[in-house]
Symmetry: C3
């Protein structure tokens, strides 16, 4: 799809400087963009590139004063970065709206149903009583087990597997390879030393506006539901164990892991590769830093912890800094020992 400078000016409520009929078909960074591409200029650090960019159109701040001539057509807006991002969002929406239809071959149980304007890719499996809402885009090779329901306006990327009985809300995006609803990890040791599986008959509930990255795993509850609340955002390769609850708008970075039955509050931020033990509570607005290993509940909203085992961030920073200088501290102790020994010796003498 092509857009002229004039069309882009209309979409961004901007004004054109230069050839209004020049057209672009894709996007680029100002330092890399080629002819036929649209870019933006906002960060003064990249000023040099502005004057020699090969991009055909540059979105630029109203207030910026040119120091020399610019080869590209300019579109003047109050905030170039925001205008560019808005444009990208609109473009992606347009592209997605065009994605409609049912590809073959597919497997769709007779009791499965779906709404209007959906896309269902090839090799996708819809089990018995599966329900898919309006405007959903279900990419190829997805598996939706029996009784799975998906709300409206969801994007389920290729190869996602959702086990039976799980529920997905509206405007949810799940990236490729993620697994929703696999069994929780529960085995009861028996008298003979063997491990008996604890049946996992709960499900996973994913509320509205959630985004889940690629190859993340969310286990079903033993009984009841593992819940990812509205607006939460999960990155790639995250482990969410059985019966966990993740609060509204909580953000979890890649490779973090949450153990069974832990309840995470709203607006919590969890860093990459952090690990959280089972059966604890994390208060709203807390921050668990990358690679932290958290073994205790955080009861005070807005707590910040770091380290493994994790504790208060400010204390931890001081202790970590001293730990790095332990050789120096050891030297000071040695010196003290020598001096005290000397004092004792002289006293005796």
């Amino acid at each position: 799809m092509q857009f002229t400078a004039l069309q882009i000016a209309q979409l961004t409520a901007g004004t054109v400087e230069g050839n209004a009929h020049v057209a672009v078909a894709s996007f680029g960074k100002i330092e890399e963009a080629k002819e036929g591409q649209l870019t933006f200029f906002a960060n003064p650090k990249y000023e040099d590139f502005l004057y020699r960019t090969k991009a055909s159109i540059v979105i630029i701040n109203d207030t910026y004063e040119l120091k020399q001539q610019v080869p590209a057509t300019l579109i003047r807006v109050p905030d170039a970065y925001t205008a560019f991002a808005t444009l990208l969002s609109k473009y992606q929406e347009i592209m997605q709206l065009q994605l409609i239809g049912i590809q073959e071959p597919g497997y769709r149980a007779k009791t499965a149903c779906y709404g209007q304007n959906v896309f269902i890719g090839a090799f996708t499996y819809l089990g018995e009583h599966v329900k898919i809402g309006d405007n959903c885009k279900i990419f190829p090779q997805v598996y939706l087990g029996d009784n799975v329901s998906i709300g409206d306006n969801c994007i389920i990327h290729p190869g996602v597997k959702i086990y039976a009985d799980c529920k997905v809300g509206n405007q949810v995006t799940i990236h490729a390879g993620s697994v929703i609803g696999s069994d929780g990890f529960g085995f009861a040791p028996q008298a003979d030393g063997s491990l008996k599986k604890v049946p996992q008959i709960g499900n996973v509930i994913i509320e509205d506006l959630v985004e889940i990255g690629s190859n993340t795993t969310i286990d079903r509850a033993t009984i009841g539901s593992t819940i990812i609340k509205s607006g939460a955002k999960l990155d790639n390769l995250i482990q969410i164990a059985h019966n966990v609850e993740i609060g509204n708008r909580t953000v979890i970075a890649a490779q973090a892991g949450i153990s069974g039955s832990t309840k995470i509050g709203n607006g919590v931020m969890i860093g990459g590769q952090a690990g959280i033990v089972g059966h604890i509570q994390i208060a709203d607005g807390s921050k668990i830093n990358a690679q932290a290993g958290l073994g205790k509940s955080l009861k005070i909203p807005g707590s910040v912890v770091t380290g493994s085992p994790a504790y208060d961030y400010n204390k931890a920073i001081r202790s970590q800094s001293l730990a790095r200088n332990l050789p120096e501290m050891e030297k000071r102790i040695k010196e003290l020992e020598a001096l005290v020994k000397q004092l004792l010796k002289e006293k005796i003498a």
Copy 2:
């Protein structure tokens, strides 16, 4: 499927109190259960819920004395939790037994074969000489490479990929998205700085009664076999490198990683996100705590280690506690320095 209170009493060897003909079709927690659901009451903490649960049937201990009337039909048993869990297991078995048949479209090489009462889901790929035992449930979108063999009573969840030549025993469960038999990570640096791939021609052997979580990866051996021994249980997102051996009934939590050629004993417990270096041995019954980084063999059975680098748990706990208080320790050294300085000064004076 529906069950009456009378049927459930028979399955659990219990006795009915109330309407024996009321029926349930699913399970719930006592605080959440709805009409038409079965629940249990065992933990006194939930006593309040017992008297106002909407569940139609509650399994309850023989010894519990009611303090007021209960709306639900009760089933009295010696141990409510165990009876409920047993019932769930039986229910899941019944459901699985009903899952029989070959879905289309599928790809099944002419030399592939399978036993009785199997389920093979749509879009599943069976390579040349694949063998699948009796009562296996192979879900949709599974890949079984050439010469893969699967024993009896296995459950292979959607999207599992098993590379050529790997062997799976009986009563094995593998969850969605796991990869069995990908190449070990081996590259030999060459004189010109390039990295030449070391061919990985071994396989993976998974013995009986093993359970593997979702999106876990188990690499094939360079030569010989990577082995997961009988009764071992692996959680989600675990990395098992080439030529590793995991002992009988060893349990590994999510996101742990075991490097190449390491041999883990029997009954070992490995915590979440723990990492274990290559080419070492872990004695039977050892415990490696969550996020530990183990760089040396554990030769004494029942060893417990923690930390990164990992060492003896009891020692580590004391050191970690002191490390957290390093600012306080530094203050004590400073005070000592001041006092000694004072003593030296006075001595000279």
Copy 3:
């Protein structure tokens, strides 16, 4: 496929000792090999096995002097291990060359095209304008989104998902379940506390000779490209965030994670479960040890860091060793305190 001792001697430029017509069909380790298998003997530690191996053929060093009779046919070469490895590589190449053809059912957009001698497995999805080079082996259940291009001589294992617009070079191998091109993790907090998705419209470029393990995730760039440079090798379950660059021949072990926009130099080694913060640079030839948590750029080529937070390896080793002995250090401080107290007391007296 069967090979006689004579054929193997020709392939390895070796000489036969024993029956030149005995044939083998597979490979084994000297301690496990069975009749009909080929093995090698190089490590004196395994000498005992040489004299009782059941292997039909053993590749052995020219210089090794037999101490007793060996049941197997021997093939004498200058370097047994190298000869064996070379043979394995040749064998795998032969096997792969035989893998040719298009399996059905498949989904191939009309605008998708592919070169000569390709294999495309069943249930594989080729989107619009997909290009696949010569001699590529695309296994079953792979997803290649619109405009994806794959060079020559690539192996894409089962279930790999490559999102639209990503580019893969020549001689690239990607293992099962890996996801290339999922959205970067970017959300802008809004005034009302909600999180607005930052559109991710870049792509991933994978250059020549790269190998990627199983269930690894590589996110597309926000704008521009996430780049894995020529000859880099990535293990399983690795997270590469948006706009990251990985240098030539850099090696990354399993479960490591690289945050957004970080640039890793050439010939860098990153250990398992290491985590690297976003927006930093790592100089060529640096080494980041397993489980390290790196928060700052490494500007000096050949830097070695360890720990979380990570710092200079040699310093860290000394500090970690002292940290382990903190209880002993605390005892020394206590003794000093007692002695100084005594000295002060006596002074007053």
